[in-house]
Amino acid sequence: MRGGRRIVWLIPLLLVPLPLVLDQYQQYVANLILVYVPVGVGFNVVVGNLGQLAFSNVAFFGIGAYTAGILMLKLGLPWWITVLPAGVMGGIAGAAASVPALRGVRLFYLAIMTLAFGELMRWVYIRWEPVTGGSFGMAVPEASVLGWALNVESRKFYAFLVLVVLVIMLTDRLLRSRFGRAFVAIKGNEEAAAAMGIPTDRYILLGFAWGGFVVGIAGSMYAALVGHLSPASFDLTELILQFAIIMVGGLGSLAGSVLGAALLTAAPEFFRDLPGFEELLFAVLIIVVILFLPRGLASLLARAHPLFDDRYFRE
């Protein structure tokens, strides 16, 4: 069983030659997908596994991105050194965002309170001008890994691929352990989870912090990819896109986060060839997937082969 599952880890190897067959622009899109995979993975831990309707994800993303950007621009640190601090800052933000949930706020009330967190951070990006560059944003220096400049898209691709595989591997271990089971137990029935000896508060805090950590890392990748950060990139539309990624991909599924990120990041780029219909096609795509695959793209994969059935959100 475990040996069988290891085959899944061959998939990233298959992706290694990808930059060779893609043009520059397509490589950029592939990199953007790699950025949004951990965005979805982290968001999904909080919403899909822990079951908390928390919309603070875009705040973690922005905090990770600005942490990397500021450390590079102000302290002159190379990008690869900023990845972990970006994750840690995202994790701290995640822990902070769990406070309403720890005080018993749930569902729509939690949604609106955590939504405010993202908007509050946007205010910080705009107002803390000497550090963040204000509304105009900040230019992020060229990223590098151990002196190896990520000056072409293909190099970013390999750096990102390593990070994404690591993030998925660690999150997979977490979700398959007693920690992951505790998350889903809390989602299903908090009272019963506590009656099993699970300190629910501690696990809610942990789930948020892990989500923030992963999304913070995604933020550092975003900073390296686009080279320019501005508050407008972390607004409500961005949040809705991130939410769509986990809904279309499949709640509580790692494979779903990957598929959702791939589809929703790549689709608008395809639709760009059909000017005037981009938004329409994007909207139709989301509606069609949710209508015919209410459990997301992950349910297709799980049906194709039990190897991919990593869903902890099953009905």
């Binding site: 007693r178 889903v184 506590a194």
Partner: protein, 254 residues
């Protein structure tokens, strides 16, 4: 020697309403003690008070002589008081096996960092817990449904899985909140047999809330009757059956 569970002059008040009013009793190891009484008599509130889900207004709850009334539910559970829930407390998104694994949560010795690093010890702890959970399910003849989602199980199977899950850590005290609700008569008899065996063979102290009076009378060593939050009778099933106050509690004054 201190009793397994000692409830001493416990009162629970919600605003002006007194749900439990100065109730005292003890439960020893190997004893099945039923709590009965009309709806609203305070049975569930008393249960929740023992499990830590309700804060008591006065009195003490002692487990083997140590006060537990100030502890949170997960702390009380970790000290060996396990419970089932009235409306079925299984985690619907998890399989029967995973439900039992959650029951074993406190006994799976895998730390956060070791786990992330893929430490062999974490893997072994997880594998051992899974084996144990399968064994426990097999003891109740539930191995066939171990990998079914809880929501796919029949009502009786769900009740049994919930009991297996509660007992996974081998606790000394089990609280059963209306375990027979919705069970067909043969299943009820089986449940009764299991309750007796757990108490007599494994020495568990069991507190049982139940409306199915035949079940109560056949499995209990002791029956405590509550009415309006007060204890109105306490004795063997035969004694309680003969007690006039019990009839009054259920039927009103004749």
């Amino acid at each position: 020697m201190a009793a397994l569970l000692e409830i001493s002059d416990v009162s629970v008040r919600f605003g002006g309403l007194t749900a439990v009013d100065g109730v005292s009793f003890e439960v020893s190891a190997g004893e099945v003690c039923a709590l009965i009484g009309p709806n609203g008599a305070g049975k569930s509130t008393l249960f929740n008070a023992v499990a830590g889900n309700v804060v008591i207004s006065s009195g003490r709850v002692l487990l083997r002589g140590a006060p537990i009334q100030h502890l949170t539910p997960h702390e009380i559970s970790a000290r060996g008081v396990r419970r089932t829930f009235q409306n079925g407390g299984l985690f619907a998104h998890l399989t029967a096996l995973e439900n039992v694994l959650v029951g074993l949560h406190t006994q799976v010795a895998s730390g956060f960092l070791g786990l992330l690093c893929g430490a062999e010890s974490s893997r072994r702890a997880e594998a051992a817990a899974t084996r144990r959970a399968r064994e426990l399910l097999a003891l109740m003849e539930l191995d066939q449904v171990a990998d079914h989602l809880a929501s796919e199980l029949s009502g009786g199977q769900q009740r049994m899985v919930e009991i297996v899950r509660a007992l996974a850590t081998d606790p000394p005290l089990l609280l059963l909140d209306e375990p027979a609700v919705g069970l067909a008569p043969p299943m009820r008899d089986r449940l009764g047999g299991i309750i007796r065996r757990l108490a007599k063979e494994r020495g568990l102290g069991i507190v049982l809330i139940e409306h199915a009076i035949e079940l109560v009378m056949s499995v209990s060593d002791r029956v405590i009757v509550l009415n309006y939050g007060r204890k109105v009778a306490d004795g063997s099933p035969a004694e309680v059956r003969a007690d006039k106050r019990v009839l009054e509690a259920y039927l009103g004054h004749a």
